[in-house]
Amino acid sequence: MGMHVVVCDHKSGMLTSSSLEALSFADDLARKGGKDLVALVPDGLQDKSLHAYNLRSVYTFPAAGDNARVEEYLAAMTALAGKSTPERIIFSYNSLGKALGGQLAIRLNAGLVSNVCGFEWAEGKALYKKSVFSGKAYAWCAIHSEIGLVAILPKAYGVKQGQDPNSPEYIELGPLTIDARMQVVEHRMSSGKTPLTEADVVVSGGRGLKDPANWGLVESLAELLHAGTACSRPVADAGWRPHHEHVGQTGTAIRPKVYIAIGISGAIQHLAGVNNSRTIIVINKDPEAPFFKAADYGVCGDLFEVVPKLIQAIQNGQ
C-alpha cells in the first residue's frame, strides 16, 4: 500500500539528468514515508544507475522510436495505476513532464504540485515546496487526494549519490493502447551542445556586445568553461541569436551553477529567468546596471577589454 512511482526517461539507453534528479527526490520521499518505490521507464534503458535508488521493481513499457511519446507514458502510467494504487507519482517537470502532468492529474483524479524543489515532513504528511513567481517565492503545498503527482523542477533538488545498488524486479507492461491522433514527425536537435536548461555553466551576452560579429567573445569564453551560451531578449529579438537561447521571463528559465552575464543590464524580466542560478557573475561597464544587485561577483568595466583578457588568462593557464 502507498506505493510511490517515479517516472523516468532516457536518451539512447542512458537516464537523463532530470530523471536522476526525480529518482533522488523519490527515494528520499519514499524512505521518509516508509513506502515502496517503483520506477516506470520506456523500453531500451541500459543504464543500471537507477538500481542505486532503492527500487522494488522497474516497470517497462514498449515505446516506438528513440524518444517515448507523451501518449505512451500516459497509457503506461494509467495501466500501472490500474494494477496497483500508487500514492505518489514523481516525475521531472521537463518538457515531457509539462505535457504529461495535467493530463495524468485528470485521468487519475490526482492532485498535482508542479515545480517542486523540496519537501518537508509535517504531522505525518509531506508538504511540497513549489517554486513560484519565477523563483522569487516558494509555496508549501499539501496534497489532499488519494493519488498525488509531484513534478520536480529541473536542477533544483539535485542528483544525490545513490546507495549500494539492489536488484529490482523488471516487469513488462503492455500491450498498451496509444492515442495516435498526434504524430511526432521530426526531431531537430541543436548539434552536440548540452541543452541550456541542463548546462551547469552558462555564459550569456546582451546588447552591450553591440554587434553580432562580437558574439565570438561569448562563445570563446563558453568553450573554455565548457559552458552553454545564452542571450538576453533584445539580442534574440534582433535576430543575433536564435530564440531558444533567450533566457528570461518570456524565454527559458535556467538554474545553472554559474551564470556569467556579459553586457546585460539585468532588467527584472531577465533576472526572472536566471535569478535561481547558484552563482552569478556580471561583467558590465555601467556601475548602475541593476544586475550588480543580483550578482555574487561583479566586474565594472568595458567587456571588450575584460573578456579578451580573461580568455587569454585562462588559455595561458594563469
Binding site: T16, K98, A99, L100, G101, G102, Q103, A105, I106, R107, N109, L112, L127, S131, V132, F133, K136, A137, Y138, A139, C141, A142, I143, H144, S145, G148, R181, M182, V185, H187, R188, M189, S190, K193, T194, E198, L224, L225, H243, H244, H246, Q249, T250, G251, V258, Q269, A272, T279, I281, F292, A294, D296, G298, V299, D302, E305, K309, L310, A313, I314
Partner: protein, 246 residues
C-alpha cells in the same frame, strides 16, 4: 476556424512579491495585474492571425472576477471577436480547467489556446488538464504553428531542440515564445472593443485537490563582491578556486 483563447490574469513582472503576516496569502496591495503575456502575446495573436488568414472567429474566455474586465477588453481591442467571463472570484488551476472544459465542450472549437504558463505561479498545468478533460490532443510548448490541408503542424520546444508534431483539429495548444509577435491595441481596436460582447457566466464549484499551506520568500543574496576590471588575475582566481570551473 473557430478558435478559443484562454486568458489568465497575472501580477506584473515588476510587482513586489509579498505575503500577508501569516504567509498564506499573496499581498495584492499596490500590485498591477496584467494579461498573462503568454496568453496575450502568443496565444491570442496567433489565433487572430489564423482567423484573418482562414476566416472564422476568435473567442476569449477568462475565469475570474469583474475586476478582470478591463484586461478582457484589452484582448477584444487587440482583435478577439467575443469574450466570456466565468464569474469565479477565487479561481484555482484545476477548477479553471474544469470550468473552461464545461464552457467549451459543446461549442465546437477547432483550436483552444492557452499560454504555456502564467508568469506568477508558473505552473503549466491548465492546458494539459483542459486537453484531458475534453479528450483532445495536447500540443505542449508550441513555438510555431501552421495549418494546411486540414492538419496543424506545430514546432514544440523540447530540451536541446525542437520537435515537430502534426495533428488534426480539434486540439489544445499551449503557446510559447516564437508563436507570434506581441501586438499593441490601436485606437480603432480600443473603440471597437467597447461594442463587442462580453458575456458573464456563473461559476460552478469544484473542490481543489491541493492546497497552499504557506508562502516563503527566499534568502536574500549576501551582496556582490566587486572585482576591479584590471585585476583579471583575481577573476581567474574566482573561476578556478571558488567555482572550480578551470
Amino acid at each position: 476556424m473557430k478558435l478559443l483563447v484562454c486568458l489568465s490574469k497575472t501580477a506584473d513582472t515588476t510587482a513586489r512579491i509579498a505575503f500577508d503576516a501569516a504567509g498564506v496569502k499573496f499581498s495584492e496591495e499596490g500590485v498591477q495585474f496584467i494579461l498573462n503575456p503568454y496568453d496575450e502575446w502568443y496565444a491570442l495573436v496567433r489565433a487572430i492571425e489564423l482567423r484573418d488568414a482562414l476566416g472564422g472567429q476568435v473567442d476569449v474566455v477568462h475565469v475570474g472576477s469583474s475586476a478582470s474586465e478591463m484586461l478582457i477588453r484589452k484582448a477584444l481591442a487587440i482583435g478577439a471577436d467575443a469574450a466570456f467571463r466565468i464569474d469565479d472570484p477565487e479561481p484555482e488551476t484545476r477548477s479553471v480547467a474544469e470550468q473552461i472544459a464545461r464552457f467549451a465542450e459543446d461549442r465546437g472549437y477547432d483550436i483552444i489556446f492557452t499560454g504555456k504558463e502564467t508568469i506568477d505561479y508558473n505552473s503549466s498545468e491548465m492546458g494539459s488538464m483542459l486537453a484531458a478533460l475534453l479528450n483532445l490532443p495536447f500540443v505542449s510548448l508550441c513555438s510555431k504553428l501552421d495549418f494546411a490541408d486540414g492538419i496543424l503542424r506545430c514546432s514544440t520546444d523540447i530540451e536541446g531542440g525542437t520537435q515537430i508534431v502534426e495533428v488534426r483539429p480539434p486540439a489544445v495548444i499551449s503557446a510559447a515564445k516564437g508563436l507570434a509577435e506581441q501586438r499593441i491595441p490601436n485606437m480603432k481596436g480600443i473603440i471597437d472593443a467597447k461594442k463587442k460582447p462580453l458575456e458573464v457566466l456563473p461559476a460552478s464549484s469544484i473542490s481543489a485537490l491541493t492546497e497552499v499551506v504557506r508562502y516563503e520568500l527566499p534568502q536574500e543574496k549576501q551582496g556582490v563582491r566587486m572585482i576591479a576590471p584590471d585585476d583579471i588575475h583575481e577573476l581567474v582566481n574566482v573561476l578556478k578556486n571558488d567555482l572550480k570551473l578551470i
